[in-house]
Amino acid sequence: MSHGSALPAQRLDWLPLALIPAIALAALPFIPSLPTWVTLTVAGLAMGMMIFMMAAGLTLVFGLMDIMNFAHGVFISVGAYAGTSVLLAMKPSMQADSLAANLSAIVPAVLAAMALAGFLGWFFERVVIRPVYGDHLKQILVTMGGLIVVEQLIHVVWGPDIIPLPRPATITGSFIVGDAAIERYRVLAVLVGLAVFAAMWLILNRTRLGLLIRAGVENREMVESLGYRIRSLFVGVFIAGSALAGLGGVMWALYQESVNAQIGMQMMVVLFIVLIIGGLGSVGGCFVGALLVGLMANYTGYLAPKLALGSNILLMVLVLLWRPRGLFPVGRA
């Protein structure tokens, strides 16, 4: 009997995690000064965190229901626009140099962004995606169609022009640490991203709901056989993922200090790269992939601005050569 032999301990797959500091350190010799490197690293982490918020829902939905929503980018755009509208409507509290006043604009803006994106997600799942479960070809086509329509509707509602969005007073400017200037907003983005990741981690690993989601990602049918309706679970995850994308959108708009209707589509390419790097369906992989992409974009953006997105595609190809199914492959074949 084999019971007697000890089981191998669950190994933490640390190699992909080590890629993050590895890339940061590898960039160090190329960058002329340490303070610049610190600034770039913080910027890269901040960007990575925002990308993670946008991508998390996409990867979970894929893992859980085997659906790749090519229109996920519209949740980002809609969140960005909704948040921007609220922020612009509350201009006085934005400009006041008081954290409380700023927050009284930001909190409703974030809530509005998440609510509208979440609502759109619910609508999308019900109307656009539900009829084409299990048919990948139609999924891709229909969600592309949804992307076109929503992008056009954004034009109808908010107009075709770029809307400038100044940041609230208390999160403009930089901290000076040593010789390095660190933008306040980037620190905020890192903190929010960490909070979102921590919350997701806790929900996934410490609650029954998370247990169900993790089980569902592995084997949908078995979860149903145990008596759980995976549909309602899925709708919930879809809405939450859309709302998170909306949050990422409004944060991205503040980061760029403007919004335009194309951001959804532009981000989609980045999200796909992140998902492929991380492993389709893996939340941890999505987090690592997003940080890698954010760092890479900032280092190469500084060293060779022309190659910023190109470097990430290169990164993707390298990762695929190393691990053909991404850094953290998810069980289902």
Partner: protein, 351 residues
């Protein structure tokens, strides 16, 4: 004779036959029936897009794979001609060289992408092609010394194809027989020939294997077909078709730039055309491209009128604004995917 030309794949619907004949006649007679620069531009674009969309239909409709890199191959054709003309001079040899290089590059890229990602699932292929296509877009805009960057490149063609060249002194039916006309007919005839070649491909034993793979990959594999090989081959043929379409468009426009070739908007246009026209029918490409390009150029005029008429009603003028024509085509697209997966052609044939 006609059956041979169409590879035995007849329209199988009287209405469809009439529509196709009308498109063909329209294209052939356009310089005489619809004189004017705008209408000739529309006609040439229709011809090019029929080929471009037909080559996409080979992938989407016949092989069941979604690629977002089709505009990349379209662009390779365009830049192949553009760069060769601009750098090597406007001769026939450099034109041929440019085309040959473009075709080889496309074939090699399509092969590489296919072998790398067609083993995996459709979704993965779609995502990878999207990433590769955006990489190519960046490349084209950054290598500006070569590609002209965002501005693109304008160039001369061999004299025979230039508007300044008079072929015959006497105008025919009031139309001047100049190089512009020659290049128009070159584009239309070449597109027609390529379309017929694609029709032959999908009606060959190869095409039937593709269809059986699309229907049931597992069974085809069990029957001994190497599905990856077939799909990769289809990917290459589709890429070559798109490259030729790019070549023709570059010849017609005497300009190649990101907005006319590589832009993601064109990719979306192709998707709309193939789905609305009818996936997996080839003729759908002809119908879809014609409707779309004509709508692109003339629907907007109509919408401007409607929008003006709806003034005062909330939101409606915005929805009917000429720039929002894609909104309505997008809705039509979704409806097609759900209810008419074989598009207009399928609908006509079902009658």
């Amino acid at each position: 004779m006609l059956t041979t030309l169409l590879s035995g794949d007849l329209p199988r619907s009287r209405v469809l036959a009439v529509v196709l004949l009308a498109i063909l006649a329209g294209l052939v007679l356009a310089p005489f029936v619809f004189p004017g620069t705008r209408s000739l531009n529309v006609a040439a674009k229709v011809a090019v897009f029929v080929l471009l969309v037909a080559s996409y239909d080979l992938l989407l409709g016949y092989t069941g794979i979604v690629s977002f890199a089709h505009t990349m191959f379209f662009g390779i054709g365009g830049y192949g001609v553009g760069i060769a003309m601009a750098k090597l001079g406007a001769g026939w040899v450099s034109l041929a060289l440019g085309i040959a290089l473009a075709l080889s590059l496309s074939a090699a890229l399509a092969l590489a992408i296919g072998l790398l990602s067609l083993r995996v699932r459709a979704i993965f292929f779609a995502m990878i092609t999207l990433a590769v296509a955006s990489f190519f877009q960046i490349l084209a805009s950054q290598l500006s010394g070569f590609t002209g960057g965002e501005d693109g490149i304008t160039y001369k063609l061999p004299d025979l194809l230039l508007p300044g060249t008079k072929l015959v002194e006497m105008p025919l039916l009031g139309v001047e027989l100049n190089g512009r006309l020659a290049s128009y007919y070159l584009v239309v005839l070449a597109a027609l020939a390529c379309f017929l070649a694609l029709l032959r491909v999908v009606n060959s034993p190869f095409g039937r294997v593709l269809l059986s793979i699309r229907e049931n990959e597992f069974r085809s594999e069990a029957l001994g077909y190497r599905t990856v090989t077939y799909r990769t081959a289809a990917n290459c043929i589709g890429a070559l078709g798109a490259t030729l379409a790019g070549v023709l468009y570059a010849i017609w426009l005497r300009y190649t730039g990101p907005d006319t070739t590589l832009s993601f908007n064109i990719m979306i246009d192709i998707l709309l055309m193939v789905v609305i026209g009818g996936m997996g029918t080839m003729y759908g490409a002809a119908v879809g491209a014609t409707i779309f390009v004509v709508a692109q150029n003339y629907l907007q005029d109509l919408m401007a009128l409607a929008s003006a008429a709806a003034k005062g009603v909330p939101l409606l003028p915005g929805l009917l604004h000429p720039d929002r024509w894609l909104l309505w085509l997008g809705v039509l697209f979704i409806v097609c995917v759900y209810y008419f997966p074989t598009g207009i052609v399928g609908k006509l044939r079902a009658k």
